[in-house]
Subunit: 520 residues, 2 copies
């Protein structure tokens, strides 16, 4: 997206951030091409090595700040060291990849790992450079660390619809190629010709490892991730040494456990905290709720807190609502459908996580940002129901999707709403274990009735009260409307009339169509 | 914007919300054209009157919910009852105005009051119908209840740039016209031909009054606004009677005082709270932080909490930062400048209010929504500095504007940043009481140096350390850069070198140009 690579290391006032800039504008001396190789903590001296002439020196400090970041992990796959097998973490690798693309030397690419970097690279390769791109991911979904299976399915479809091939639950066994001209194909465990993917470019996106070796050797404590342990003042286990950014562990404020969260935004905020403390002013960085967002072609995804899987692993009893609603007043011309998954602990009703996806990224991020900072205050479902966000029809519904996510979760917790998730529904429907009672207008249901015959019944919501005799009573029934709101009202009314065999499809036809486009 | 008026009273699934709809879909009986005229609280009976035949009846209740809303206030100006003098609060008045416009019967309009309704009507009249529109406002700014003077100046300029004439600090003395054909002109207190504005349509936007007469007569307590007093369960002073929406007072969670906040969003959330309580489930609505947003042509404005004026009136000691920054990574193609005013109490450092304005409305609202719900948790400046919102370059800067608003306010509170506001600067600069030291690149300063001669000096930031001898020492000096960040660094460096005569222009050239376009 950024034509000129200098734009990426310039300030907003177009000054290039080189050593001169730091000297003239900030009064900071930069030592480029110098490696920190050790710390003499007793004498407060840093051992450095000049890369150009291998000269070694000591550098005295009063306070030391370690901001060495992280390095992309290169999985030990045979062929991982071939030319044209890249990891991406800095401008140099971006430059190298761009050069190959600009010369038209890459027609097919394989991206290993469907995390944020992998997806962003797949988008750039496909969208900007027309490279035929395949993502291979070991987990059974994209963005496994950030998303549950419903929103991730929408992201996966978005990638496929935009020409990225996504292969899940699969691993790369070997990268083939020539030591000089580079990669020619990637081999998966699928034992057939389809298991070998021809390509002339491989991007590895398998996470990062903190650059903490020299610090750990100096006796500073590191966590299970290998990143440095710091207190809330960003002090390491040595009170004269601070650390921040991708080389430290942070407290996850929802789970209470340590984690790494390699994001420039957190690093920037930590920088100021460290500076305050060094200058004698108490200042704290309490941790992270793991807020994350990503653009996937013309779709925005944002998330915070724990996924249901992570919540379970941390001893919670997660329960979730999936809500589909327009991102502004539904009558407003540019309104678009968005989807939110809201996750709470069933026992305490405390909110554990949120995932949002839709086509207007700012509006998606807004919903997550509105509740994520409240996680650490013990936000519960009831708080979300009345959460006060700005309202005007060009920007929100009077009852915003975020409030409705709270309301639906409340309804589920109170057992008024008996839901079924779209992925579960699809399994059961395909196995003919559940029929659909579509309560939308008949004209909306007709294409599906024609396709699925008596597996798909339609009784419009306004007629349901007077047509109860037509509702099947002794078999599981999935109620479906546009978004899940009307079908919920029908579920209550049916229950009042003795029909307790229904499940309400979370997110309705909107979610169904987003997860399984054949139903649109 | 909405072509078909039915869209405004239809559900998102295109069902028209008429009495039939409520009966069939919700099981609710609607009595249209029936007025509530009194309450027999002792016997729990509502006195009603059928408007069509003046028949009176009693209606028994177990629980009563008052949701009578509010009516626009029609100031007692001579001529206020002339034809074509409108207030706007429902579809009927919208319909009536639209009919006049569609027939081409209005060429010039006057809007009385620059509140939300007045501004939205001015936009519709100008933008959609090409009507020459003037807004007259008694206060010295637009949106006086929602904004401080800096963001309101940007809104005022936005109106003017889009063809709406704005007259401030002025009142309407009389509306002239004919009892049959309607309004012909509006007279202000300006005693000259310019004081009389020809027009064929007047829209009064002077706030609303709650519809609580019958309830107050029944002995239910009302506040100073005339709206009903309710507890957190939305119960009036009669435990069998609930109330919600525009006819109740709410607690302002920042000031602690009662206020009215007539917004459909709050009414909707209250509806569910009332229903929960009626059904025996404790459920609370604690109040409002006054979150508000509005679209003004292609600009979005959002605000929450108290303005500086309101904060002072409530006994606080408000101090504010004004920050200009891009709404996403500055290098991202569609990034746009946004402005935030962040207000805190100088003694406690607690956040009292926020105002944001810019051209991508979802992004504007996102910043306010991210901190407004935290006001009631005692959010302070330090919390804002590390507030965790989602980061990816298409949606935010690594150090987001919201964090920088906290940082700047912290710098001001710590007296490292000695600021001057743009409106104060303009007054002093025009009176030649302050000169500008522009620390941007020379090419950016040249047009202003040419215009203002030796009142405008330029020493670029990277050269300032070595050109200190050129900095005037014994006179007030306003430091200016693009957004206020570099000039702040210069201010610190100058102070370290004995130059303590400087003020830092809040929001820099971006804010100056937005408030006073002649400086761009």
């Amino acid at each position: 997206m950024i034509a000129d690579i200098e734009g990426l290391y310039s300030t907003s006032s177009h000054a290039i951030r080189d050593p001169e800039f730091f000297k003239d504008c900030k009064g900071i001396k930069i030592f480029p091409r110098v490696e920190a190789v050790g710390i003499n903590r007793k004498e407060r001296k840093l051992n450095i090595r000049y890369l150009d002439d291998d000269r070694k020196e000591e550098m005295a400090y009063d306070k030391l700040v370690i901001a060495t970041g992280a390095t992309p992990f290169r999985p030990p796959i045979p062929g991982a060291d071939l030319p044209r097998v890249f990891t991406v973490s800095n401008l140099h690798s971006a430059q190298d990849i761009k050069e190959i693309l600009a010369k038209g030397q890459a027609a097919k690419a394989v991206v290993i790992g469907a995390g944020a970097i992998g997806i962003e690279m797949a988008e750039a390769l496909t969208d900007l450079w027309g490279v035929e791109t395949t993502i291979i991911e070991m987990a059974d979904q994209v963005l496994p660390a950030a998303l549950g299976k419903h929103v991730s399915k929408i992201a996966e479809n978005q990638l496929e619809e935009n020409g990225v091939k996504v292969i899940l639950s699969e691993r790369v066994l070997r990268i083939n190629g020539h030591p000089k001209s580079g990669v020619t194909s990637v081999e998966t465990s699928v034992d057939s010709p389809e298991g070998v993917l021809d390509c002339d470019l491989v991007v590895m996106s398998a996470g990062v490892r903190p650059n903490t070796k020299f610090a750990a050797e100096a006796g500073l404590a590191v966590g299970s991730s290998g990143a440095l342990l710091v207190d809330r003042c960003m002090r390491t286990t040595d009170p004269h040494i601070y650390a921040g950014g991708d080389c430290v562990e942070l407290r996850n404020l929802v789970s209470g456990e340590n984690m790494t969260m390699p994001l420039g935004s957190l690093a920037n905020r930590q920088g100021r905290i460290i500076a305050n403390n060094i200058h004698g002013r108490a200042s704290q960085f309490k941790g992270t709720v793991g807020t994350f967002c990503i653009k996937v072609f013309d779709m925005g995804i944002a998330t915070a807190g724990l996924t249901a899987t992570q919540a379970k692993a941390n001893g919670f009893d997660p329960i979730h609502a999936i809500v589909a609603q327009h991102d502004r007043a539904h009558f407003y011309p540019d309104s678009q459908m968005m989807f939110i998954t809201l996750i709470a602990d069933a026992k305490t009703r405390k909110i554990l996580g949120i995932e949002a996806v839709g086509h207007q990224g700012d509006a998606i991020k807004a919903r997550v940002d509105a509740i994520a900072p409240l996680f650490q205050t013990g936000l519960d479902v009831d708080d979300v129901c009345v959460l006060e966000t700005g309202y005007a029809p060009p920007y929100a519904s009077a009852m915003d999707i975020i409030n409705n996510a709270g309301n639906v979760l409340d309804n589920i917790l109170e057992k008024r709403n008996i839901p079924i998730d779209v992925m579960d529904f699809l399994k059961k429907f395909k196995a003919k274990k559940i029929r659909v009672l579509d309560v939308r207008e008949e004209k909306e249901a007709i294409p599906l009735i024609e396709k699925y015959n008596d597996s798909w019944i339609c009784i419009p919501h306004p007629e349901l009260r007077t047509r109860l005799n037509e509702v099947p009573k002794d078999e599981p029934l999935c109620l479906l409307c546009g978004t899940g709101a009307r079908s919920y009202e029908c579920q209550i009314m049916l229950a009042q009339n003795g029909f307790t065999n229904t499940k309400n499809l979370q997110g309705g036809a909107a979610m169904l169509g987003a997860a399984a486009p054949e139903f649109t």
